[in-house]
Assembly symmetry: C2
Homo-oligomer: 434 residues x 2
């Protein structure tokens, strides 16, 4: 009886690359929904995405080898949607709707590949940019982040002997399972995995998704990761992101157009999607101004995803607005997704229980929480606040204000102009942990 599979061992010890992203479906579902709209409505718009490391004390370019990063990015560029993946995208039901992707869009997607990137090192950081047509560059956000985060984990674990790795993952598993046991006590909660971009690694994300599936059962509603959704027969979840209002705002030619642009985006969205996909992301330029100027029809949408205000205050503000518009919040949905931890999930759930439908999109703290797990002390396994944001559209600077000034992105002068248009009301600076 062979004790060692010789072929596998030789393969394992001679491989050139352990690819982090192995499928174009290894991305967030909302990217595909947005992509169909961008492809349909804004095929000529250019949009540059840029890596932004908010945790500047972490010198990414010192921790991660540039050549390894290039090799991973280059590998991602070789990927195409496989036959099986295309068939699944065309044949699966998403959000209760069949054929959510049009045959024309899918035909185009079949030839999709990630466009070129620009990478430089500066002051210990990577300057990583994805310039080009929006309908190509938008697809870099998730793989770029997943690659950098996993390369950083790998670098941190390079010096770990097998036993230390064994202890590390044993502790991480024990910790994750304890979280599921706490959440299990709230059987009516609704939680989904939003942790692709910030994950420790693909395999770890998969384990965490399995843990939620086993641990909280029906309370686990799905994953934003399309590949994991396909592989594990889960719902693929997610709707839209800040890049939509940010690009459309950047393209406006007047302050009045700028002010109206957040609603313009919603109208675009509604041409493509309905039902539970009608989720408003209100905080691109501050939730207060968004609600103040919102047309009545916005209150007809299914729900809101407050993404940068403290969850309880943010949720209460939206509920007050719904009531003001004559809507019963108990028929509405709030999706929380900003920096969630078990504690804040439970606290938020208890606060809103019975008052509004709610759902939690759990990200970084789900798929990259190794605090206290390493048997050898290292900072390299602590998740950092790394994002890949649209920074310009057709050569014009793109801006995000957010409800939390610490999460604002864009040229400072342009931020000032946006603040003049949208105001600064109720924006509260909070530390951005992840």
């Amino acid at each position: 009886m062979t004790r060692t599979d010789i072929a596998r061992r030789v393969y394992n010890h001679t491989w050139k690359l352990d690819p982090i992203v192995r499928s174009l479906l290894d991305t967030d579902f909302y990217k595909l929904l947005m992509l169909q709209m961008i492809w349909g409505m804004y095929p000529k718009v250019d949009a540059t995405f840029s890596l932004i490391n908010r945790k500047t004390t972490v010198r990414l370019a010192d921790e991660i080898d540039e050549q390894e990063l290039r090799a991973q990015l280059d590998h991602a560029r070789t990927l195409r949607f496989s036959k099986k993946e295309m068939i699944w995208l065309g044949g699966n039901t998403f959000y209760g709707r069949k054929q959510i992707f049009s045959p024309e869009f899918l035909a185009w997607l079949e030839g999709f590949q990630l466009p070129e990137y620009e990478l430089r090192k500066k002051d210990g950081q990577f300057e990583l940019e994805f310039p080009g047509p929006w309908m190509y560059t938008t697809m870099w956000e998730i793989p770029a982040l997943a690659i950098i985060n996993e390369l950083r984990s790998r670098a941190a674990m390079k010096s770990f002997a097998p036993f230390a790795l064994d202890v590390l993952y044993a502790r991480a598993k024990a910790k994750m399972w304890d979280k599921t046991e706490r959440l299990k006590k709230l059987p009516d909660i609704r939680i989904s995995d939003f942790g692709t971009r910030r994950r420790h690694s693909f395999l770890w994300q998969r384990w965490c998704v399995e843990a939620l599936k086993e641990g909280i059962g029906e309370a686990f509603t799905g994953t934003s990761n399309v590949k994991l959704a396909m592989d594990t027969d889960l719902e693929a979840l997610g709707t839209n992101a800040h890049e939509l209002p940010m690009v459309l705002a950047a393209l406006t030619d007047s302050e009045e157009e700028l002010r109206r642009s957040p609603y313009h985006v919603l109208q675009d969205w509604q041409r493509y999607y309905g039902g539970n996909l009608l989720i408003v992301l209100p905080d691109a330029f501050g939730t207060a101004s968004f609600l103040r100027d919102a047309p009545d029809w916005v209150a007809d949408w299914t729900g809101f995803r407050p993404d940068s205000a403290p969850p309880i205050e943010g949720g209460e503000r939206i509920m007050a607005w719904w009531r003001q518009k004559g809507k019963d919040p108990r028929t509405k949905l709030l999706i929380f997704s900003d920096g969630l931890e078990v504690e804040s999930i439970i606290e938020t759930y208890r606060h809103f229980e019975g008052k509004v439908r709610m759902s939690f999109g759990w990200g970084t703290n789900l798929t990259n929480d190794f605090e206290g797990c390493a048997p050898i002390p290292t900072d390299g396994l602590n998740a950092i606040s790394l994002v890949c944001k649209v920074t310009s559209a057709d050569g014009r600077p793109a801006v995000k204000l957010s409800d939390n000034p610490a999460k604002a992105t864009g040229d400072p002068r342009e931020i000032d102009r946006y603040l003049r248009v949208f105001g600064d009301k109720e924006r509260v600076r909070q530390a951005v942990k992840v």
Copy 2:
């Protein structure tokens, strides 16, 4: 590239038996030391060993399938010492001494096999006995206990899906590693693995031994498990057990002979071994009477292993006796091995630090502590107080009084006779957890 090793998969799915004991060296080292003496001095003595489940609420015969137990015991009987094992026993240095086993003994050992057993079920328990020549039956103690304990673990985990098993072992590893981190704070402590008989499984004991090796380094002095010592280049540790005074006491013909028998055993032992192997096990018939009647030369021995008194009181009593005999306890060794947990190890260590040399033989709570680890509640993974004791010698009942009446074994009338001879002084009933 093959993703599945087909041959291995087929093998794994068609095997008839997953043997628990796969080597005659998978036993405690003291069994071999005692065996050499028994073989040399008492080759004609018969001794029956019997399984005793002190935790009668656990109905072993309901939890464990009798046929599986027979298959495992039968498999153990097929084992012989392998060439490599014989060479290692002959060539290795034990307790700093080369050729601790004589060539004549090793020549006999080469043909050793475990003798027959008798197995019946009664009232939900197994009646498992090993009658026959002492120099054969003595070797059943450890494999019989290891087999039953691992069969019990397996039975408890039979209904666990792969994910539950993954969580179980992740938690157990995290728990074990936390113990090593606590013990690491006491760099001068000396700890060894005495957990073979009570282990959850062979693989788990191996993991725990690796964890101690990685986690506390030099403070981990070795293992009682001969196979693990050989495989991992650790010291094989252990000296002698209660069976020696119990058998010799049973063979005596007068109360005076009986009273002297515990010292007679030591004289036998001293003919074979010296140095750090001169460890007194004082509690077979109560430590108080043992110390009261002990000849002065007993104080020249290297140390004591108090095995049933509370560690601090028991240790203090022996230290007082040493002082009374004009010995400085700081030159002497106390080996604690009864029901140790991290807490009691640390407490005992702190109490005796600087006053006496000491060492901890960590058993059940090292290799079978799954409390709080199972994601599905089960009592089947809680270790139980299961022993395999000599119950008769040449047809006469064998007795152990112990410092803890809850650990006494033997016929009640015979126990009364022993109590008349040795007295009941300072024996204190304590709950036997493991």
